[in-house]
Symmetry: C2
Subunit: 195 residues, 2 copies
């Protein structure tokens, strides 16, 4: 009774949502991706840095190039998914700060060093990757996020030196035998301490 979020929404986003390994043939449209983005763009990041970038791998040719950089266990399901997205961090996010954080023009100056930008972009783009996964579920779709891949290969194939890939996400309606049984979670007392 401590949560105010509607129980059906709790189920949709967390309790019944699962990482999918198979999908139906139903396409995922650009309109759906836009609706997901337009919801999750409001998730908070440090100084509104918003460094997440999304590469939708739609063409058969690009899909084939991506699949070769994935771990063997991820190849078949990614080749067959209705939509595949590469999520990356833009290490040059500070160029957008005058647009994103207009009330504090000095913000951009905090990020003169590439190493400072990289660590901030990784943190904040990863937060946004989680919001994106929640957003996929909010669209009634299943996400299949994957980190079993050759990150440097994906970067060279699809991105550039200014972008760091974080994960690849398969997206679609779950298909037959879409997931394994739910694995156990840690109990609250294994995770939470009080001082």
């Amino acid at each position: 009774m401590s949560l105010v979020l509607d129980p059906a929404a709790q189920d949709l986003l967390f309790r019944e949502a699962r990482t999918a390994n198979t999908f139906t043939d139903e396409p995922v449209t650009d309109e759906q991706v836009q609706a997901i983005y337009d919801l999750v763009k409001y998730g908070p990041t440090s100084m509104n840095q918003s460094p997440l970038r999304i590469t939708l791998v739609r063409s058969a040719e690009a899909r084939e190039r991506l699949v070769q950089h994935l771990g063997d266990g991820n190849k078949k399901k990614t080749a067959a998914a209705p939509l595949v997205a590469i999520l990356s961090a833009d290490n040059e996010f500070h160029d957008e700060l005058p647009q994103l954080f207009p009330h504090f023009p000095a913000a951009k100056g905090f990020f003169g060093e590439r190493s400072v930008r990289e660590s901030s972009a990784a943190l904040n783009a990863t937060l946004q990757a989680a919001y994106f996964i929640i957003g996929v579920r909010a669209a009634g779709l299943a996400a299949g996020p994957m980190t079993g891949l050759d990150f440097e290969g994906v970067r060279k194939e699809f991105l550039d030196d200014d972008h760091t890939p974080l994960m690849v996400v398969n997206i679609g309606k779950p298909g037959e035998d879409a997931w394994f049984p739910r694995s156990p979670r840690l109990e609250a007392d294994q995770v939470i301490t009080t001082v």
Copy 2:
């Protein structure tokens, strides 16, 4: 119309939810934190690694010790927040993998190297930090996540060598003038490309 999540839930979690800088005096109970955790623990992580750890800073003495490690702009609001949580990544998460990923006993062996564990823990605990922020909002509360702090100081004061702090989050019911006007977000065409 592309989203199936109830519009009120969209507002609660993303559109109307805001990072809060002031709070009412209403306490945040352990039952609320437990309910938040019991929802967001289902958010996905790689191989169910679940490396997020949560330190609730409840005592006045501990609160004072924490505040001294925060940036000046974060001190006053953190001293006054009903509840403050330190979110950290457990770099020894692999010890729990036999419990968390029981169908694949070899999983623990992938994480023999500390540097591999650290990068995996950072990625996955950061995803879980985002789920936690969403969960705070699902409880009808506002979160005030902060990264303007002395991370090494917080680690030495509250954690140990095996835990890496990610952020500090103030939690409570929003108070007077709780937030700044919403900053602009990037348009979808600034974020999404298709190949």
